[in-house]
């Protein structure tokens, strides 16, 4: 079903989704959804509002139990992997997931301790300054603007070593500079062999790796792919 052209080097298969179906209340959002996410791939999920993009991403994270189908991470069902899968995963949802009463520094330190990925304070400060928040490290995040809060949350991407990123509308509320930076971070993640699954209405240019497009809510074949290298 997947109209993917053969890539010269065989890609390592990361996430394997087969016959996935999700419903919200009585409404069937999607069914028989199958796709594979190899390493070095960006999956761009598209669809109208309410077509089930967020539901799909939450199902892929394991936050939501799909009504049918299976999701496998490196060959194992994610339900069985549980915490081991979470360790390989970074999820960025609609909510920023940062505490308003803590500073940017504290928020990131807690996040990295819980990911069991001890990062020293210097690395966190460096990440914050790269994301454009130099001088705001010690301010409670409730003092920051919407876009700045989002930047604090996105600084996790800089610190993350997780091979799989799942990002739900990461570009909203960001200014032009931050959008550029985020595109750059996503390209870096793909270039170092990771995978990114995201929903956005924006185009994300890649310097290497492959882009797969997945369109929800349409009867025709939802999966199409293209490669940045002109190999096919």
């Amino acid at each position: 079903m997947v109209s993917r052209c053969s890539h010269p080097q065989p890609n390592l298969l990361m996430l394997d989704v087969s016959d996935l179906a999700c419903r919200r209340g009585e409404r069937l959002l999607f069914s028989d959804l199958s796709f594979q996410v190899p390493a070095e791939t960006l999956v761009h999920v598209r669809g109208r509002n309410g077509s089930g993009k967020t539901t799909l991403l939450r199902a892929l994270c394991g936050l939501l139990r799909a009504d049918a189908g299976s999701i496998r991470w490196r060959g194992e069902p994610i339900r069985d992997l549980a915490e081991d899968y979470n360790r390989d995963l970074l999820y960025f949802g609609h909510l920023n997931g940062i505490k308003a009463d803590l500073t940017g520094l504290e928020n990131l330190r807690i996040a990295s301790t819980l990911d069991q990925d001890p990062t020293d304070a210097d690395a966190i400060v460096a990440a914050l300054s790269r994301i454009g928040l130099e001088g705001f490290e010690d301010l409670p995040t409730r003092m920051l603007s919407q876009g700045q809060k989002k930047r604090v949350a996105l600084a996790r991407l800089i610190l993350s070593k997780a091979p799989l990123w799942i990002l739900d509308e990461p570009f909203t509320a960001l200014d032009v500079d931050a959008v550029d930076l985020l595109q750059q971070l996503i390209a870096e993640q793909v270039a170092r062999g990771g995978s990114v699954i995201l929903t956005t209405h924006q185009e994300v240019p890649l310097t290497s790796g492959a882009i797969q497009r997945l369109t929800l809510g349409e009867a025709s074949d939802p999966v199409s792919s293209e490669n940045t290298e002109s190999s096919c």
């Binding site: 936050l63 979470n86 997931g97 308003a100 996040a111 301790t113 819980l114």
Partner: protein, 223 residues
């Protein structure tokens, strides 16, 4: 493991210290409820001595109930709970960290203030000591059992009332044996030891099972 537990614990305590009103409202609620009874039923010594243990325990139950709603709600609203579920750590351990922090902030102050408010009930000094000890063992049980209810009612409209209906019946054993220990020591008819054995058993059982149940409930609530 310990590092993760400590991380969640210190995070919640830092947060509460930056927003002190939540902690203080629980404490003042407890003090006011306990103080209302002597004003309402009159100052007759024997009557108050009979009422004291029960009133203090019921007030502690209600105060701990009041604070429970916020146990997971704030984290749920800003998306940090979602992130906690995806950290790659055993969720029950994170829940236990949150519950311990919650008890240190809302249960421990009640234990410490109890002797002061109990003086209004003419309780003997032994009875007051027994009350403190019983509260110190009993209030963590309240927080632990309450965490299950708080996780189940997360994100529901009118969750607060539902939470009370779900959880207050489960508090009954703690109330019976907690207040029982104090009453028994106040009238000096029997040994308080069995009461303490039972309360400790509740504490052991609930600290083992409640975090697991609350973790499962959180996963359901976040779906």
């Amino acid at each position: 493991m310990l590092k993760v537990f400590y991380c969640v614990l210190s995070r919640d305590i830092t947060l509460a210290l930056r927003r002190r009103t939540d902690v203080l409202t629980t404490l003042f609620f407890f003090i006011i409820v306990v103080s209302l009874f002597p004003l309402g039923v009159g100052s007759e010594r024997e009557q108050l001595r009979m009422l004291g243990p029960g009133v203090v325990w019921v007030a502690a139950l209600l105060a701990s109930m009041l604070a429970l709603e916020r146990l997971f709600a704030a984290d749920y609203d800003d998306g940090t709970l979602e992130q906690l579920l995806l950290t790659g750590q055993p969720l029950a351990l994170l829940v236990l960290g949150k519950v311990v922090a919650h008890w240190l902030l809302t249960g421990l102050p009640l234990v410490l203030i109890a002797p002061l408010v109990a003086m209004q009930y003419h309780l003997s000094s032994t009875a007051i000591w027994v009350m403190m000890a019983a509260l110190a063992i009993g209030t963590p049980v309240l927080s632990l059992i309450g965490a299950i209810g708080a996780a189940l009612t997360l994100g529901l409209r009118g969750g607060g009332i539902l939470l009370s209906l779900l959880i207050l019946p489960l508090y009954v054993p703690v109330l019976v044996y907690g207040a029982g220990a104090v009453s028994v020591s106040a009238i000096e008819i029997a040994d308080t030891q069995p009461y303490f054995y039972l309360l400790t058993a509740f504490l052991m059982g609930s600290s083992l099972l409640a975090p697991l149940a609350a973790a499962a409930a959180l996963r359901i609530s976040l779906e």
